[in-house]
């Protein structure tokens, strides 16, 4: 029962803050909402018993990405954002398309209704570590390369032109 309550609460937080991200005119607010939303998702992970993913979500998303975005918003944002319309002209067709997507998702969801959780979740860190350094070693290494490349790229883009 508590599980259900927690789920609904988290769902409310996630969806509201997600709407906030999408709809709030102020970019600053959006960014804050994003942080909230991500934290909510982290909560979902926790409720699903994925402790390691929960930790990663908090550390990387909430602690890293959201903060990074906040910084950028501070750098590139402007006061006029709140006055200027933040939604473009194609919001109506987009809305319709999104409705169609949602309808499709619901349909898919229908196939999975009534599947209960099998057992109580167990701590997964050790198992994930074994996978990472075992079967998934290659993707793992590739991810590190991607990170390195993106870091280099970010530095390159961000750096001022050499005089």
């Amino acid at each position: 029962m508590t599980e259900t309550i927690i789920f609904y609460m988290l769902t409310a937080v996630i969806l509201l803050s997600a709407l906030g991200v999408v709809l709030l005119p102020g970019l600053m607010h959006s960014a804050l909402c994003l942080g909230l939303c991500l934290a909510g998702v982290a909560g979902i992970f926790a409720s699903l018993g994925s402790d390691f993913v929960f930790a990663a979500q908090i550390l990387v998303y909430v602690g890293g990405i959201a903060v990074l975005i906040l910084f950028v918003v501070l750098l590139a944002g402007s006061a006029s954002d709140k006055i200027v319309r933040q939604v473009n002209d194609q919001w109506l067709p987009s809305l319709l398309i999104c409705a169609a997507f949602f309808w499709a998702f619901l349909k898919i969801t229908g196939y999975f209704s009534g599947i209960p959780a099998a057992a109580a979740p167990s701590p997964s860190v050790r198992a994930i570590a074994a996978l990472m350094l075992g079967d998934y070693a290659v993707p793992f290494e590739l991810i590190s390369v991607v990170l390195l490349a993106s870091m280099t790229g970010a530095v390159l883009f961000g750096r001022r032109k050499a005089q």
Binding site: Q90, P93, I97, F101, A104
Partner: protein
């Protein structure tokens, strides 16, 4: 000794190259090498001559190596020696030797001294080639090479426009004759199947050559001889050739090269003998030439040109002799003439060297200044005029005897020419050496030439005196050239002594007349010039032959201009470029059609495409979200299809 005779021309060729390449470091700038080789050649020729007279060598001798093969035929390179060859060999080497010695004095200090000797050696080599070869093809080659040497030597002082012109004229005139030679050679080749002289002679003796072919070949080749030996009407080049240095005139244009034509006729005498027409052509051309040239010498004031006309006239004699069947006479006259005419030219050269002019009107009274020259010139004159017992007497007498035996008309022409010869030689002698000096300045500066020049003069003078007498002893010369009985028919002998007496009297009379007229009564010739001015004019114009050939050249020139103008204006600009023009015009028309018909259709397609494109372009908003929207729409459509399915 005979085995090594082929070395003679090769050595001369080598020496020519040697002088050109290393002459600077050789003694006398290379002249020594040329002289040495010529001397050696002369000694060889002399030894051959002696042995041939003694009969210790077998003649004819032939030796050859394969040269190249062409379409199943073999061309050879080799020597053919018989009495005729030896006679010519001596002439060539002797005159070449003396002229080369003489030239060390005459050409002293000339900036192109070295090259002069190179040319002389080259000439000697080619002339030896003509003399010795066993093969008409090589004969023709050397014949042409001789012509080139003549061209180079006539134009030796090429800074003088007239010398350059004379060289060209000589070359082209002889080349005109050589065309005949070339065609004749081809006729001969197809009639006999070979170029080798010995085989041609064999076939001719055996009567295997059709008379028509022999006649055609003979006459055509005689054209070449007429060019080289300055016969009517091609003799026009020889007087102009006197632009060359005097030793050259002596060697090439008196003794050797101009005799090559006579030698050629003699060489192929067996062929000529087969065709009476060819023989008559030779005889009559010779006679006409002898007469015409002698008459031309009468009015000439240029010392060397007088001698040149005299040479032409004497060559005519030789041809006439050959034509009437006087084979021995012709060759004998060739031999003796070579010596005394070379002598006369060298003596004239000596005079010119002293007074620096060719014009006899500016000379006179030189006999005291230049005694040796005078005496040798006198000897040469006497020999030429046929005064006994000088060389010319014997040979000319034989020629006239042969002519009389064949045709009295020819004899008459010959006798008239002989009379004129004596007259103009007397005139030249007197005008040059006797009387009062006409140009005091030139006379004062005149001096006897150095020993290297007078030495050869003296030697030649001696030869001119004795050669006729010596060679007729025991019919020595006749035995030599007639070694194997080259003649297919025998001459009927005429009374030699009567002819001899007649001709010497004519010569003596005419000569005394000349001496008297020009020494005692110079007014009479002057008056004659006035009285007979049309004739004099004709003679000075050289029977308008020069004008005739110049006209030919003009015609050739205008022909060439016409042809080129046809080539350029019509063929190239109209016929060929006309095509291009036509194509261009057609393409213009087609282009118009293209623009207005085909293109219109094409343009319509284009327009449609364009407007479609313009519409399609609207979709390209450049907005990322717009694109994404379309992606999303597409995905949802696919999803709808998937679900519906």
């Amino acid at each position: 000794m005979l085995e090594y005779v082929y070395i003679l021309p090769l050595l001369s060729f080598a020496v020519a190259g040697l002088i050109l390449a290393f002459g600077r470091w050789l003694p006398l700038k290379g002249a020594s090498a040329g002289i040495l080789v010529a001397a050696w050649g002369f000694s060889q020729g002399l030894m051959l001559f002696v042995k041939a007279i003694q009969g210790t060598i077998t003649l004819p001798y032939e030796m050859s190596i394969p040269w190249f093969s062409f379409g199943g035929n073999q061309a050879t390179l080799g020597v053919y020696v018989d009495g005729l060859t030896i006679a010519m060999l001596i002439v060539v080497t002797a005159v070449s030797l003396l002229v080369q010695i003489y030239s060390t004095g005459y050409m002293h200090g000339d900036p192109r001294f070295k090259r002069f000797y190179c040319y002389l050696s080259l000439f000697t080599a080619s002339m030896l080639g003509v003399t010795l070869t066993n093969n008409m093809m090589v004969f023709f080659m050397c014949w042409e090479l001789v012509g080139v040497c003549s061209y180079l030597l006539i134009g030796f002082w090429f800074e003088k426009q007239s010398a350059a012109y004379a060289g060209k004229k000589a070359f082209i005139t002889t080349k005109l004759g050589d065309l005949g030679f070339l065609v004749g050679l081809m006729v001969l080749f197809y009639a006999t199947g070979t170029f080798e002289i010995s085989k041609i002679q064999e076939l001719a003796h055996a009567g295997m050559i059709p008379a028509a072919a022999a006649g055609a070949a003979g006459i055509l080749m005689f054209l070449g001889a007429a060019g080289k030996s300055a016969q009517f009407p091609l003799f026009i080049w020889l007087p102009d050739a006197m632009e060359g240095p005097s030793p050259v005139s002596a060697l090439i244009h008196a003794a050797t090269m101009v005799a090559a034509g006579v030698y050629m006729v003699a060489r192929l005498y067996a062929v000529y003998a087969l065709s009476p027409i060819a023989m008559d052509t030779v005889a009559w051309t010779g006679a006409i030439t002898a007469f015409m040239a002698a008459s031309l010498a009468l009015t000439c004031f240029d010392l060397k040109r007088v001698l040149a006309f005299s040479t032409v006239s004497q060559l005519g004699y030789m041809m006439m002799a050959l034509g009437v069947g006087g084979f021995t006479a012709g060759m004998f006259h060739l031999t003796t003439h070579a010596y005394f005419k070379a002598l006369l030219f060298l003596a004239a050269g000596s005079v010119i060297h002293a007074v620096h002019t060719n014009d006899m009107r500016e000379m006179g009274g030189l006999r005291h200044k230049m005694p040796i020259t005078y005496i040798t010139f006198l000897l040469g004159t006497l020999a030429l005029c046929g005064i006994p017992p000088f060389a010319g007497y014997f040979s000319k007498d034989e020629v006239l005897a042969a002519a009389l035996a064949r045709n009295p008309v020819l004899f008459a022409i010959g006798a008239m020419a002989a009379a004129m010869t004596a007259f103009y030689m007397a005139r030249a002698l007197v005008m040059t050496f006797h009387g009062k000096p006409k140009d005091a300045h030139k006379h004062d500066h005149a001096h006897e030439s150095p020993a290297v020049m007078t030495g050869p003069l003296i030697l030649l003078g001696a030869v001119s005196v004795v050669s006729g007498f010596v060679l007729t002893r025991h019919e020595m010369f006749e035995h030599l050239v007639n070694f194997e009985g080259a003649l297919p028919f025998e001459l009927h002998h005429v009374n030699h002594s009567a002819v001899a007496l007649f001709s010497s009297i004519v010569a003596a009379l005419s000569m005394s007349l000349g001496v008297w007229l020009y020494k005692a009564r110079p007014d009479i010739p002057a008056a004659c010039r006035e009285t007979f001015s049309p004739i004099v004019n004709m003679l000075e114009k050289r029977y308008w032959l020069d004008a005739f050939f110049l006209k030919l050249v003009d015609i050739g020139d205008s022909l060439s201009r016409f042809m080129f103008s046809f080539d350029f204006n019509f063929l190239d600009q109209i016929a060929i470029d006309g095509w291009a023009w036509l194509t261009l015009k057609l393409s213009k028309i087609q282009g118009w059609l293209d623009d207005h018909v085909v293109d219109a259709a094409l343009n319509a397609t284009g327009t449609i495409t364009m407007s479609a494109g313009r519409m399609a372009r609207l979709a390209q908003t450049g907005l990322v979200q717009n694109y994404l929207l379309f992606v999303a729409i597409a995905v949802s459509i696919f999803a709808a299809i998937a679900f519906a399915g």
